[in-house]
Symmetry: C2
Subunit: 224 residues, 2 copies
């Protein structure tokens, strides 16, 4: 964007849609290079979240290996699928539909605070229709995602006063066929707590804010 | 300590030794409670490293489960042991003995910058004699550890100008017998970089500082 001082939530819906198309187009192009095994799409906003540039930007990193965390998430989802013959994310969407952890929803997306979040106000944006790869999203889905991303980021900016945050697209490894057990989604992590010795030593996270409480704050912020 | 404004490196050797005895005694006492499966000893110093109290302190958290990260480290070491019939940490100590990543050493300890550190100036303190559990350390070992900890923290404080840091004792799960494949050690992580979207999305870490370079800085600081 030529605007130096805007946050993601400040952008117009149409502008966000263009960002999402850039995500999709770049992934689909890089995918042709068979050396790449994974493409990570993410955004760091604010110094506390590790942003090294001040100007609004997102990042894409293509990797020749499947990252450890991606493998853990996909393998975990596979374990559930093998046991239940259902996608765990589809189950979560159904279960949270009218619950205390729902933040907002649109025609094609559900936004929730997950059941056991690592961080206060950790927020997930999930497509309602099962799909393992972000880059397979069609035009109406990207349009609807732009709306829901804008609404969600405005709620977060309003309630937490423009916090530093990371958002990360969780998508299946690019060379995989569509997976019945994995469901792409977006995770937004406002930077409110510090990762310290306990977290580094255990891989467990201390989170003082129940997701039901953060969801209520975000719901009550309305569509600012 | 009654002194409010001291860092770990400011303490006298004898005072550090007493801290280490407190670690050992508390672990050995808590170990009697069979509900506990792991005891984490760590220190957060400075706000950037997540310290919530200003007064000098260390922390101990006893857990009814074996943490994810501990399991990964112990399992990884076991894999190496099954393959090579040697402890991987004993191998590292031998290999780094006179190398470019050595920071300092004492009669009973080796201090190195590990081969592929996640963070700039990540520093490991390893006992030369194989032992899986920190709390089995005898009196001369704790005394020698106090010396080497003080020397190391003073080097770090000098080169990095009293940085925020975490240190974490990596020890075997308390209810295990002595393990031939795991080797307790201490990891010191100065807080110089931010964990951002790439790290959260992958579990991989971007580190701009080669360990050979940070080791050289720390070696050249002498025994300040």
């Amino acid at each position: 964007t030529p605007q130096h001082a805007v946050t993601f939530g400040d952008l117009q819906e149409k502008q966000i849609e263009e960002v999402l198309w850039a995500f999709k187009d770049r992934v689909n192009d890089l995918k042709k290079d068979r050396r790449f095994r994974y493409i990570l799409l993410f955004k760091n906003f604010g110094e506390a979240a590790g942003a090294s540039l001040e100007h609004p930007h997102c990042q894409l990193i293509a990797l020749p290996v499947i990252p450890k965390r991606v493998k853990e998430e996909v393998d975990g989802a596979k374990l559930f699928y093998d046991l239940k013959e259902r996608c765990i994310f589809c189950d979560i969407i159904r279960q949270e539909a009218a619950g205390a952890r729902l933040v907002t929803e649109s025609e094609r997306f559900t936004v929730i605070e997950p059941y056991a979040p690592r961080f206060p106000f950790e927020t997930w944006v999930l497509p309602k229709r099962h799909q393992s790869h972000f880059e397979d999203s069609d035009a109406p889905t990207l349009q609807n995602l732009a709306w829901v991303m804008r609404a969600t980021m405005r709620k977060i900016d309003h309630v937490l006063e423009r916090p530093a945050y990371n958002f990360i697209v969780h998508s299946a490894p690019i060379q995989d066929e569509p997976l019945p057990h994995f469901h792409w989604h977006l995770e937004i992590i406002p930077k409110l707590t510090k990762v310290a010795g306990f977290e580094w030593g255990t891989g467990f996270y201390i989170n003082p804010t129940p997701p039901e409480e953060s969801a209520r704050f975000l719901r009550e912020a309305g569509l600012v």
